[in-house]
Each structure stands twice: as structure tokens, then as C-alpha cells.
Amino acid sequence: DVDEDNFPSVIAPQHLADIFNAAPPFAGPSIEEMFYKVTNLLGAKPLLAD
């Protein structure tokens, strides 16, 4: 049973850098907000959208 979905994600380095460069660490959003910004770059769209 080959899993057709199991391949590594691709993230454009610039997208990641943009998130962290937006503000210095002492003035940026909470770590939880950063978490959601980064994870939004990862993973496929929901199945509902198919």
C-alpha cells in the first residue's frame, strides 16, 4: 500500500525569513502567533477544499 501523500514539504526560505524578520524578537508577536504563521506555510490544504 504505497502512500502517495508522504513527501517532504517545500518552504520558500524567503517566506520563513519574512516571518522572523518582521519584528525584532523583543517586539514581535507572541510565540504562539509565530507558530501559526510558520505552520501555515506547512502542510496541504484541507480536504474540504478539494
Binding site: N6, L16, A17, P24, P25, F35, L47, L48
Partner: protein, 447 residues
């Protein structure tokens, strides 16, 4: 020769974060102490944990304490005090009182020369502010090897941009290990602050992504070695950060870097499963939602279908796990975690006579977060489970009644999920009537 010594001493004494060299050179320790101690007192008002240092590096006696006169053991103890103070002061570096207090340590204990690495690490999250450039300007000519990449900025006395730090971390991952260890130690001491954790999180996340990108450009065999080396480097860091329940921000920061690592890293199942199990081992009410999102991402990159028993048990403890997964599933693919959880829950039904998972299975099956094929397999295995139950393994028939009403409810599901379930009911090659008899319920007659 003695005049040379005096000159050298004066030059050394002129290194300051606050004053021009000429002014600094002429200051007595007494004057300095008075000014700097004021800063220290203000810090104590902001955070009572600073008061501890009144007995040592900020005591009256410190005015006459000369490193050269101290024994190696005493110097070691001094370094310990300085290290702890700097970690605690890290949170306040943008405030003048902190700069004044650190000024005392620079002038009295020459921490810019004797504790250079600790001092740079404290200031690194603030690399963009002028105080960092000032710090660089007073460092000794030869700074510790791990920070020598900052030499051009030492010479030009300018603040390094973030990209320089990230580039260094990608090309010399020792920096990632070094700064992770520094951050973890601050957290162990409960001396962490938001800027430190945010800075570390960003550096680690971008470094992981960059290191993986670099490794992809090589031959496959080399890629595997590099990935393994990165796993060895980061594994222990994640293992500790993920379970540090007293520092939720550190946990969330590590979920972020870990999600990138697993999503891009092409890791073996055994590593992904271990990371998933560490995640659920450490999560708390304060971190469970981001932890779950991270878990969902990791599951998408794992090839085994069923969730491990540790992950299943932890998910079962979240009271609304089904609706929560459905909610996260509105934004991203969650099918592998949801599917793997359902399979594990169905297995618990027969193996442990544990029906607690039924509401979760139903919430997931009735939603649109699974693929049709996954819905069909889970529903079919529920039917098979119903067939396997009899007076032997279900004495009072409670499991059969529960499962029976669940199957009826599912058979009445409308929409696309309902269609898949209907087709399974039509296609199953076992005897539906026997199942009905066993369950003493009829769900076919209702259609």
C-alpha cells in the same frame, strides 16, 4: 615599563557601555559603584530575584574585589554568579538600569574579556539595537571562536542583521547547538524571557529549514548522512524542550521548529513517532492546541497508519478531541492523524473492551476531514468489530448496544460521508442479517 603598564591599565579601564573612553578612564570604582548600583537597585524593584546578587557581585565588598587577587575556585564562583545574573538581566537589556548594572560587571570584573561568550549570548536576541554595537566595540581583539563570525561587525562597530546569524547557523550548525543549550539552561533556571525564546525559536526554525535545503542539493547517500547528523544534533534538544512543562513558550517554540524539521526532513517513521510521543508526553492545557497542530503535521509525514498506543491514550484524554480535529481540519489536512486515531480506537474496542473512543470516531467519520477510502476502511472495521462481539467478550451486551447505535447513527449520515458509508453497507461481503441479529438492531430497515 611601569608607565606602559599604567597606560595599558587605563586603556582597559576605559572600556565602557555608557561613557566615552576618556571619561571612563578617569572614573574611580567608588564613583562607578554608586552609579551602577543604582541601576541594580532598580532591577531589584522590577524582579526580586535580582536581590540575591546583592550578597555577591553587587555587594559593598565588590568594590575592592580584584579578579587577580582571587583564587581559581573563587574566580569560578564569580563566573557562576555573573552567568546567572546576565541570564536574568537578559529580559531587561533595553532598560538603562540593566545596562548600568552590567556596566559594573564590565568595569569591575572585566566580563567583556573574562566572560565574553556569556555576554554575547545575553545580548544576541538584541543584536539589532545600538547597545549591541556598543558591546561589540569593547570586546577584546580575539573573541571566542564560536562568535568570530561577528568580527566584521566588531571592526565596523555595527549591528549584524539577522540574516548573518541565520547564515552562520545554517553553515555552522554548532551555533544552533550552542545557543539551544544556552536557552535550555536559562529555562532550567527559570531565567528565560520572551525575547530569548522568540530569538532562539526563529534561529532554530530557519536554521533547520536551511540545513535541510543545503543537504538536498547533495547526493542521496550524503543527504541521508546529513539528515542523520542533524537528527543527532537536534534530537536531544527537542527531547528536553518538548517536555519542559514549566516553560510553555519554549514548548510552543519547539513545536514550531519540529514541525518544519519533520515536514521537510524525510525522517524515518521511528523518529517521527518518537517526536510525536514526546510531544504528547509534555503537552499541558497551555500548549495542547499548537501541540495538536504540530502532531497533525508530523502525522502527515509518517507512513505508518495506526497511531501508537502512547499517542492514542494521550489524545483520548482530550475531552473534545474529535471536534477539535474537525476544527483544525477546516484549515489543513488532518486525515492521517484522524485516520490513525480512529484505527487505534477501533482496535481498543476489541482488544481492551474500551468504547470511549466511539464519540471521537463518529465526530471524525461524520465530518469531511478524511478521504473516502479512509472513511470506508474505518466503517468497515467497525462492522467487523460488531461481528466479533458475542457473549464471550461482551457479557452484558453493553458494547454491542453502544456500537449498534453508533452504526445506526453513522448509517444515517447525510452528505458525502454518508454516501461512502452507504456504499460500504452495500458492498460488504459478510452477512448483514447476522450482524443485525447479533446486535439485535436493524439499520438496514431504516433505509
Amino acid at each position: 615599563k611601569s608607565s606602559l603598564n599604567v597606560k595599558a591599565q587605563k586603556a582597559a579601564h576605559s572600556k565602557s557601555l555608557i561613557w566615552e573612553p576618556r571619561v571612563a578612564a578617569s572614573q574611580s570604582y567608588q564613583t562607578l559603584y554608586t552609579t551602577c548600583h543604582q541601576g541594580f537597585e532598580e532591577l531589584c524593584q522590577l524582579d526580586s530575584r535580582f536581590a540575591h546578587f546583592q550578597a555577591t557581585i553587587f555587594g559593598e565588598d565588590s568594590q575592592t574585589q580584584d579578579r587577580n587577587q582571587l583564587s581559581p575556585a573563587e574566580n569560578q564562583e564569580l563566573d557562576k554568579q555573573i552567568d546567572a545574573f546576565l541570564r536574568l538581566a537578559g529580559a531587561r537589556l533595553r532598560l538603562m538600569p540593566a545596562i548600568k548594572a552590567i556596566e559594573w560587571l564590565i568595569r569591575r570584573f572585566r566580563i567583556h574579556e573574562e566572560n565574553t561568550s556569556a555576554l554575547i549570548k545575553t545580548f544576541l536576541p538584541f543584536h539589532s539595537i545600538p547597545a549591541f554595537a556598543t558591546l561589540l566595540s569593547i570586546l577584546p581583539a580575539k573573541i571566542p571562536a564560536e562568535f568570530r563570525f561577528l568580527d566584521p561587525y566588531v571592526r565596523s562597530q555595527t549591528s549584524p542583521p539577522r540574516s548573518v546569524l541565520v547564515h552562520q547557523a545554517v553553515h555552522h550548525p554548532e551555533l544552533v547547538t550552542l545557543y539551544s543549550e544556552y536557552t535550555l539552561e536559562s529555562c532550567r533556571m527559570q531565567f528565560q524571557h520572551p525575547a530569548l525564546i522568540s530569538f532562539w525559536a526563529g534561529l532554530l526554525t530557519e536554521a533547520v529549514s536551511g540545513i535541510l535545503d543545503r543537504s538536498r542539493s547533495g547526493r542521496v547517500a550524503v543527504q541521508k548522512d546529513n539528515d542523520q547528523a542533524l537528527l543527532h544534533r537536534l534530537g536531544p534538544i527537542f527531547a528536553e524542550a518538548l517536555v519542559m512543562k514549566k516553560v510553555p513558550a519554549l514548548q510552543i517554540a519547539s513545536y514550531m521548529a519540529l514541525a518544519v524539521f519533520v515536514a521537510k526532513g524525510n525522517l524515518e517513521d521511528v523518529a517521527v513517532t518518537a517526536f510525536m510521543e514526546q510531544t504528547v508526553l509534555g503537552w499541558t492545557n497551555a500548549t495542547v492546541r499548537p501541540a495538536l497542530v504540530s502532531l497533525v503535521i508530523m502525522a502527515q509525514h509518517r507512513s505508518a497508519k495506526q497511531m501508537s498506543s502512547k499517542v492514542t491514550k494521550a489524545l483520548l484524554k482530550i475531552s473534545d478531541i474529535g471536534p477539535l480535529l474537525v476544527e483544525i481540519g477546516q484549515e489543513r489536512r488532518v486525515d492521517k492523524l484522524a485516520n490513525g486515531l480512529c484505527l487505534a480506537l477501533v482496535e481498543r474496542f476489541t482488544k481492551k473492551c474500551d468504547s470511549r473512543g466511539l464519540p471521537t470516531i463518529m465526530a471524525i467519520l461524520e465530518s469531511r476531514i478524511l478521504k473516502d477510502k479512509q472513511i470506508a476502511v474505518i466503517f468497515k472495521s467497525l462492522l467487523l468489530t460488531a461481528l466479533k462481539l458475542d457473549d464471550g467478550n461482551d457479557k452484558d451486551g453493553a458494547l454491542r448496544r453502544e456500537l449498534g447505535s453508533a452504526l445506526i447513527a453513522l448509517s444515517q449520515t447525510t452528505g458525502e460521508s454518508g454516501e461512502v458509508i452507504q456504499s460500504v453497507i452495500r458492498d460488504v461481503d459478510f452477512d448483514i442479517e447476522e450482524l443485525e441479529m447479533k446486535l439485535d438492531l436493524s439499520f438496514r430497515s431504516r433505509h
